[in-house]
Subunit: 336 residues, 2 copies
């Protein structure tokens, strides 16, 4: 099993390792302070790290009132956090954690050069495919790490995050040769950073494979919950929708295989059984739809579809889902 | 062009021909008095024919009040019609017109033997595939004719039909050898019956091909308007939904071809262009969904999908649509 559970290392080792590569105080910037960035960022602040948040709409509220985290693991308040509205006002950081929705990734071209130190580490806590490649073209000198969050949380108000369940992150390093495996010191150190703050960490030997594995679930459930206006529980309880999700998952697995990642068909059953055990759940795309936000159709559907197409495999079922989502997204936002 | 517009013949010829085969007065029974049976039945009554309606929920209202037709071609009222609640009370007929939704076709096994004369003619005004074959197994001695209605009408209340637009019927005869072509006297006479009542009639040389051609439009639009909660106009205006409908149509055309019916790909463009010219429209499945009635998923989607599957062709896009409809139908009717 490539996917080993990361063992938490003691805090002293972590700090000394990190200071070795950063040459002093480690400064971490977090871009985006929604359900993902707000939750993980708050855990890192609570763990005593030097965290700087770049915000947009909630800037004034967070600057004046800090962060409130309601969590199944215990609520807490951070009365004062470092908040910035403009990337040019933020100090350059050793590590940047990107926790924006991918629908805003076009902003990163102008933000990242302002906020990342030379040879820094960029951690992409996002869904989808190939986003690390985009970033490597913006900041070629950075080490880029992808993080797949298994987190159920919502932003319920400005600076107010509700963490419902789960919270682990699967981390893997972006390599130019996408089939290369192995762990760098940078990946180990990012794993330590989260792990010491109480976040369960899994390490993925190959990031591309990990992203396709996550897509099996995401493409199977994100679109259908929006289209059928249903939670995961309702979808699992109905024979037809359950069969549909399984067929989509098998198509995604085949897509992964034609792209060179060895995932076997039974991975779909593992995902479906895991979903049956889960609490009733609305995936991020469903929450975005309900809130009238743009949907991550491009990164969760179209990019994998195009990737497989380039290898001569047509993901016809996923294409139908993506077309439906395009329509619903526009109708939902009144053709904006 | 196989699909010739039927030229209306003069009324005297029609009556004498019909009386020749029926041996006297021609009696026509109509099963189902919704948007289709109510509209066409009323036109036949108005034309002086001996029409008998078998009804269910609206029986008492129609027996006491007759029928009210609001039509773009002129409103009219039939104060008195022959209405029956029970098939055993109805006189046996020379011609039976079935205008039920296919979701009620299981009732025909018990109804038809009560109401059709030996060697009578059964006209199936329904959507879907292979329904004539089902009927030939119930009444092997009957001549069975399929009718594809291009009609935009609603039942707006008991015995109250609103005819919005169109109204033509494409008629073809069921043959045991489904690839046989040709017109029988019975088909010509049914065409006369409708044509003399003012219904534009087209004759189809081959019923199977005609049914697949109608499925190109029905599978392309019926499901998507339900799933996307949209009219045909909205679907045509959005690039993604329009692309989706075209892909579904091309799949149906390929399904028809593997089943032996020669339909070319450009038929999808003909259908899409025709839809652009149409008034903004909710297909029957969307009206059924809005009214909380069961959807004709089995006959409009699953039967063609299985038919193509038997020839080794997997209609993957249509299968996704059918699964989604199964889910939505059950959710809409609260899992009934």
């Amino acid at each position: 099993m490539q996917n080993t559970f990361y063992k938490r290392r003691c805090r002293d080792n972590f700090i000394s390792d990190f200071m070795l590569i950063s040459g002093g105080n480690v400064r971490i910037g977090i871009i985006g302070i929604g359900a993902v960035g707000g939750y993980y960022g708050a855990l890192l602040v609570k763990n005593g790290l030097d965290i700087h948040f770049l915000l947009n709409s909630d800037f004034e509220h967070v600057r004046d009132n800090g962060l409130l985290i309601e969590s199944k693991d215990g609520d807490f308040v951070l009365e004062k956090v470092n908040a910035y509205f403009c990337s040019r006002d933020m100090p350059k950081c050793d590590v940047i954690i990107v926790a924006l929705k991918t629908t805003h990734n076009d902003l990163l071209k102008s933000i990242l050069p302002d906020v990342i130190k030379k040879n820094g580490i960029i951690v992409m806590l996002q869904n989808g495919l190939n986003i690390e490649k985009d970033i490597s073209e913006i900041i070629p000198s950075a080490t880029i790490i992808g993080g797949l969050c298994f987190l159920c949380s919502n932003k319920v108000g400005p600076g107010h995050i509700r963490h419902l369940d789960y919270g682990s992150i699967r981390l893997g390093e972006y390599k130019k040769n996408v089939f290369e495996t192995g762990m760098s010191n940078e990946l180990q150190l990012i794993a330590d950073t989260f792990s010491n703050a109480g976040v369960p960490i899994h390490l993925a030997g190959n990031l591309g494979k990990a992203r396709w594995e996550k897509l099996v679930w995401n493409m199977g459930f994100n679109g259908p919950t929006v289209i059928l206006n249903a939670t995961t529980d309702l979808i699992m309880k109905n024979e037809s929708s359950c069969a549909m999700v399984k067929e989509i998952m098998l198509e995604v697995i085949q897509g992964a295989r034609v792209c060179g990642y060895d995932i076997t068909d039974d991975f779909s059953d593992i995902m479906l059984n895991a979903t049956k055990q889960m609490v009733d759940y609305s995936p991020s795309m469903k929450l975005d739809y309900n809130a009238g936000r743009p949907l991550e159709i491009e990164n969760i559907y179209w990019r994998p579809i195009r990737e497989a197409e380039m290898q001569g495999y047509s993901m016809e079922k996923s294409t139908i889902i993506a077309y439906q989502l395009d329509f619903m997204d526009r109708a939902n936002r009144k053709n904006i």
